[in-house]
């Protein structure tokens, strides 16, 4: 479109030119003829001189200038005479002294219409000079003066703006790698910003002088640049300067506010976002924007809704300045209250908790806390009802979530709100481990300063430094004093250095049990905290050491451990109990696994116990699937024990020969003789015992346990565990059946609303694709293949949970890999 309009524009100028040619411009006409045809340097020089003399004359410039420079650019003689200083000077003058808009348009059009040639290079260099000579300022300022260039047609105006904003793209499209640095966005936009600043400066002067100015053109340029995505480059230069200038001069404030008002509506969002990103501090925002948010509907929408509730990529300082800006002025405070109301609504919406990503929820929580922190006590009383509703609803639906981060977020925000709403006695209080995120959220509640950061930063930082220095020195002196004190003590005391006394522990009263049955007894019936602790500590080792004894009581022991509660606050209780449970499972696989899998679906267990069962199954399967790396078995001379099965002649004969060779061989090096010995996978034969019973009765809800209903936490873990069990069974014969069963199971719950469950589903799918042999996988999937792909692609694109998305991408890749290997084999065969 730009091309089209500029072509029309040029045609328009040519037309005018022809009109004038007949009457007044005969002199100019002859000059131009000379320039386009002559080969004589003196003639050319003369013609150029005549033209440059006319540059100041409006009669010439308006109708003839474009044609004149067009002729100059297309003239063939320049390459021959370019050595001539005089001609070069006059030539440059023609471009740099004429009307800047026409020059810019023509140069850019020439660049975009000519192919690679000397002319193109010439154009580029002229344009470079044009930029460095500050012609942009002239151009911008010419549009600011009232009556200066108002006679422009809207198309021309639009074209000039478009060319100004897109200069880097236009030039780069045609110059490719030869683009001069000055045209690159990193250099051009700061230059443009500087020109805008200069223009604004001139506007200020003009206004002081009582002259009217129009900022519409500059605002349009600014808007255009921002909408093209270069807001950060342009505001990097613009925002800090404006911030400091508006600080000292109220006129600047007015000018800037006017400029922002004049930005076209469709560009408002980009301009405001870019400005907010580059400004620091609410006060600066307030100076630059004035009451724009009240007067301009679009700006209001962007600032109070879009930035806060629809987007979530902005950094916290931006939020602080947006909300601080709203809080600074009485008119805007009503908006702040509005914001709080809408944020409250969003925050307590349980569907939003389920369907938006954690990052966005964190963002909204930040907005909420910042809002609340900015409100005065009286305003909070006014909004008390809304806030209370928000707090109760929001905290509740967050505590229901399966994702710890969301739960914690709910707790922190709940605490913070309750701190503002309630009397000190009746405030909410939760227990959680504070991490970085929580500290950040809490810090938002500390009374935010709406003061200008820029101005106060230096003071505070210096004072802080001084303080910290003082503190440091004080600390040092205190330390050194203490050091001296201890030194003096040392002087007076013995020169005897103490030994390490870390082994000096509180003595236990009772001895740890030595037998499996004693241990079981103690765990079952003891009211003695110490005895229980000791038993728990030795349980794992005892169980692993005494295999026979363990097998006798394995199921009973499992029952006791499963029902064992941490009554005495034993240190590392969960780890010890879990280790013991794993030891049991590994030592006596079938009965114990049977027990676990039946108990998983039975009555009267709490969620924790069911989750424990799943964890134990997964850990045991993992241990079983790993080769035994016990040092004892490694060091045992296996050849010394001749297995009964190997008594047939061949092996016997081989062994004898082997022995003879061994005895006759002298080994120079002892290293490297140990080779990795293949051991049977202990998990493969029993994988089915672990896996299938867990799939047996998931759809039979019980009074206390409804897997497909409210107990989705367990469902998520179950899927995850099944995935693990599946993956650990890789290369086992049973893996195909397992994969089929797991895919069937997963298919029923794939659209679960809970993120944890969906994560589990994705994990299970991944592990199926990873573990199942490719040919079996494809036959299993069969007709569902395309549907599975579509589902995975949809999850990969649209799921609100980042983990789900990445897992979906992973499984898609695995599926494709399987497909590829599978499809290649027939190709090779044929």
């Amino acid at each position: 479109m730009r091309c089209c309009s500029s072509a029309a524009l040029i045609r328009y100028s040519k037309h005018q030119f022809r009109d004038v040619m007949g009457s007044a411009g005969t002199e100019v006409g002859s000059c131009l003829r000379t320039l386009s045809t002559s080969r004589d340097s003196a003639e050319i020089m003369h013609a150029l001189r005549t033209l440059t003399r006319n540059l100041e004359d409006g009669e010439f410039t308006r109708p003839h200038y474009t044609h004149a420079i067009q002729v100059l650019l297309s003239a063939h003689w320049f390459s021959r005479w370019c050595e001539d200083e005089e001609i070069k000077k006059l030539w440059d003058e023609m471009f740099l002294k004429g009307p800047p808009d026409q020059t810019l348009l023509l140069l850019l059009d020439t660049i975009s219409s000519t192919g690679e040639s000397a002319g193109l290079v010439r154009c580029a260099s002229v344009l470079e000079k044009f930029l460095s000579a500050g012609r942009l300022q002239v151009l911008l300022w010419s549009r600011c003066e009232v009556g200066g260039a108002c006679s422009d047609s809207p198309q021309l105006r639009e074209t000039v703006i478009g060319h100004l904003a897109a200069l880097p793209s236009i030039t780069c499209n045609h110059l490719h790698a030869n683009t001069p640095d000055a045209f690159l966005p990193q250099q051009y936009y700061p230059l443009l910003a500087a020109s805008i600043l200069d223009t604004l400066q001139k506007t200020c002067h003009a206004l002081r002088a009582g002259q009217d100015c129009s900022l519409g053109f500059v605002a349009q340029v600014l808007g255009k640049v921002c909408i093209q995505g270069y807001s950060s480059q342009i505001f990097e230069t613009l925002a800090p300067r404006l911030s400091s200038l508006t600080c000292v001069d109220p006129l600047w404030q007015r000018v800037t506010q006017r400029l922002l008002e004049k930005v076209p509506e469709r560009c408002t969002e980009c301009v405001i976002t870019g400005l907010m990103r580059s400004l620091s501090g609410a006060a600066a925002v307030s100076r630059l924007m004035g009451n724009l948010v009240v007067t301009n509907k679009k700006a209001q929408f962007v600032l109070t809704h879009k930035l806060l509730l629809q987007q979530y990529q902005h950094p916290t300082p931006l939020l602080k300045s947006v909300l601080g800006y709203l809080a600074l002025n009485l008119e805007r405070r009503t908006l702040l209250k509005q914001v709080l109301r809408s944020v409250c609504q969003v925050w307590c919406n349980s569907s939003a908790v389920k369907h938006t990503s954690v990052e966005q929820q964190l963002y909204v929580s930040k907005v909420l806390l910042l809002c609340v922190a900015l409100l005065h006590h009286s305003e909070i009383q006014e909004l008390r009802h809304e806030m209370l509703q928000c707090m109760l609803g929001g905290v509740q639906c967050r505590l229901d979530s399966n994702i710890e981060r969301i739960r914690r977020m709910g707790m922190v925000v709940g605490e913070c709100l309750s701190q503002k709403l309630d009397t000190p006695g009746s405030q909410l209080k939760f227990q959680y481990e504070p991490d970085e995120e929580i500290r950040e959220l809490k810090s938002l509640m500390e009374s935010p300063s709406v003061e200008d950061d820029e101005q106060h930063q230096p003071d505070t930082s210096t004072s802080l430094q001084a303080e910290s220095k003082a503190e440091g020195s004080a600390g040092q002196s205190a330390e050194s004093e203490a050091g001296r004190g201890s030194d003096s003590e040392l002087d007076s005391d013995d020169d005897l250095t103490p030994y390490d006394m870390s082994a000096d522990q509180e003595k236990k009263k009772s001895a740890p049990p030595h037998y499996v049955r004693d241990c079981l007894e103690a765990l079952m019936s003891s009211d003695d905290a110490e005895r229980v602790e000791l038993s728990l500590q030795v349980a794992e080792a005892l169980l692993r050491k005494n295999v026979k004894a363990t097998q006798e009581v394995s199921v009973q022991f499992s029952k006791v451990l499963l029902h064992l509660e941490d009554r005495y606050n034993t240190p590392h209780f969960h780890m010890l109990r879990q280790n013991a449970m794993v030891a049991l499972t590994v030592t006596d696989v079938k009965p114990v696994v049977d027990y676990w899998t039946t108990e998983f679906y039975s009555l009267n267990f709490n969620l924790r116990q069911r989750l424990d069962i799943l964890e134990v199954l997964a850990l045991s399967a993992q241990e079983l699937s790993e080769p035994i790396t016990n040092k004892h078995t490694g060091a045992q001379p296996i050849s010394a024990v001749t297995p009964q099965e190997q008594c047939d002649d061949i092996t016997h004969w081989r062994q004898i020969v082997e022995k003879r060779i061994q005895s006759k061989t002298r080994r120079i090096s002892k290293g490297g003789t140990q080779s990795v010995k293949a051991v049977p996978n202990r998990y493969a034969p029993v994988a089915g015992f672990f896996f299938f019973p867990l799939l047996r009765s998931y759809d039979r809800p019980q009074v206390t346990f409804d897997l497909l209903g409210s107990d989705h936490l367990v469902l998520g873990r179950l899927l995850h565990t099944l995935g693990l069990l599946m993956h650990l069974a890789i290369n086992a014969p049973v893996v195909s059946q397992m994969g089929r069963a797991l895919l069937d199971f997963v298919w029923t719950v794939r659209f679960h609303t809970d993120q944890m469950v969906r994560r589990g589903v994705m994990f299970a799918v991944c592990s199926v694709f990873l573990s199942m042999p490719a040919e079996n996988l494809l036959t299993e999937l069969g007709d569902d293949l395309m549907e599975t792909r579509a589902w995975l692609a949809d999850v990969a694109e649209n799921d609100c949970d980042a983990d789900c998305r990445s897992l979906a991408v992973q499984s898609l890749m695995l599926l494709d890999k399987n497909l590829k290997t599978q499809l290649k084999i027939p190709d090779m065969e044929t």
């Binding site: 005391d493 005897l496 250095t497 103490p498 030994y499 390490d500 006394m501 082994a503 509180e506 003595k507």
Partner: protein
């Protein structure tokens, strides 16, 4: 990183029952000896050079030996106290092992006697009597009673005591069941002063005569040290906390540098004597340590620490002996 605590120099096994009491005999000619009294009435004479029991004396009719002490002036004599309420004096010269003298104390308690050799050939002995709270001091040679010391206040059973020679005459410090310490002027048969050092019974005490400072242990976690001023008044001085409660015996090394305790928690603890700075926890025994003793080697680097435990073993350590 502080260095790891040392291992025992050697272990003496074979006492056959709990080791209750230890006494070194390293002075004079001949190999150094360690005497130990066991819970079944056997007194072992350990040769520290060969590390073997050279002789075993069957004594006290099989009753537990609760205390024994060798005499400084003659290597061949030994005094032992048993649960059969008797004190025996042994003659060990020329491979003899004969009881030359004995005294019926009639005490049924566990309080150990205290021996004070006033001059060569003469010694005073403080021993508990049939009255639980009473101390009797006798002249060794003739068993002539010198005095009987009995507190006026009700302090409970006599638990432990130590007698030494002060400028004004023999002084005896006794610990009682209610945690009090009483300092007795033996010549005038009256108490100098009394100090309630512990809330629990005083289990053991030792006094550094040079520094006029002593220390006592109890069944709790605290060791309490106290000083004696010019008027022989007992005053609280310092205390140190241990990890586990209960001390059976305390011993200050003759050079006044370190202090060793026999703990009920199977550990031997070593402290600096000046500031009670904890220096080491020696872990070897698997049962209560009943007794500790420092050897009386003349040569400092040879000085040893021995500990006897209920687990029937005696561990011998060389610790802080280089300086």
């Amino acid at each position: 990183m502080s260095r790891a605590p040392p291992d025992p120099l050697f272990i003496l096994r074979g006492s056959g029952s709990a080791v209750n009491s230890l006494s070194f005999c390293c002075g004079g000619d001949g190999p150094p000896f360690l005497y130990s009294g066991s819970g079944k009435g056997a007194i072992h004479l350990w040769n520290l050079t060969t590390r073997r029991a050279e002789r075993v004396l069957e004594s006290h009719a099989g009753s537990s030996v609760i205390w024994l002490q060798s005499f400084k002036d003659s290597r061949s004599r030994l005094i032992s106290q048993g649960r059969d309420m008797r004190l025996c004096v042994w003659d060990l010269s020329e491979d003899r092992s004969a009881v030359t003298d004995s005294l019926l104390t009639a005490s049924v308690g566990f309080c150990q006697c205290s021996l004070l050799e006033t001059r060569p050939g003469a010694a005073l002995l403080a021993h508990p009597t049939e009255h639980m709270e009473e101390v009797r001091v006798v002249e060794m040679r003739s068993w002539t009673p010198v005095c009987t010391l009995k507190p006026d206040l009700k302090l409970g059973m006599l638990m432990c005591m130590k007698m030494w020679q002060a400028d004004s005459g023999p002084v005896l410090c006794a610990g009682y069941e209610d945690g009090s310490l009483v300092l007795w002027d033996v010549s005038h048969r009256r108490p100098y002063s009394c100090l309630k050092a512990h809330p629990e019974p005083v289990m053991c005490l030792d006094v550094d005569v040079c520094k006029q400072k002593g220390i006592s242990g109890s069944s709790e976690k605290i060791l309490q040290s106290w000083t004696l001023d010019k008027q022989q008044n007992l005053q609280m001085h310092d205390s140190v906390q241990m990890t586990n409660p209960g001390v059976s015996q305390l011993c200050i090394r003759a050079d006044g540098k370190i202090l060793a305790t026999a703990g009920w928690d199977n550990n031997i603890r070593v402290f600096g004597w000046k500031k009670l700075k904890p220096l080491a926890v020696l872990q070897h025994h698997t049962d209560m340590v009943n007794s500790v003793a420092f050897s009386d080697h003349q040569d400092p680097p040879q000085r040893l620490l021995a500990a006897g435990s209920k687990d029937q073993r005696i561990s011998v350590w060389s610790i802080y002996s280089e300086s």
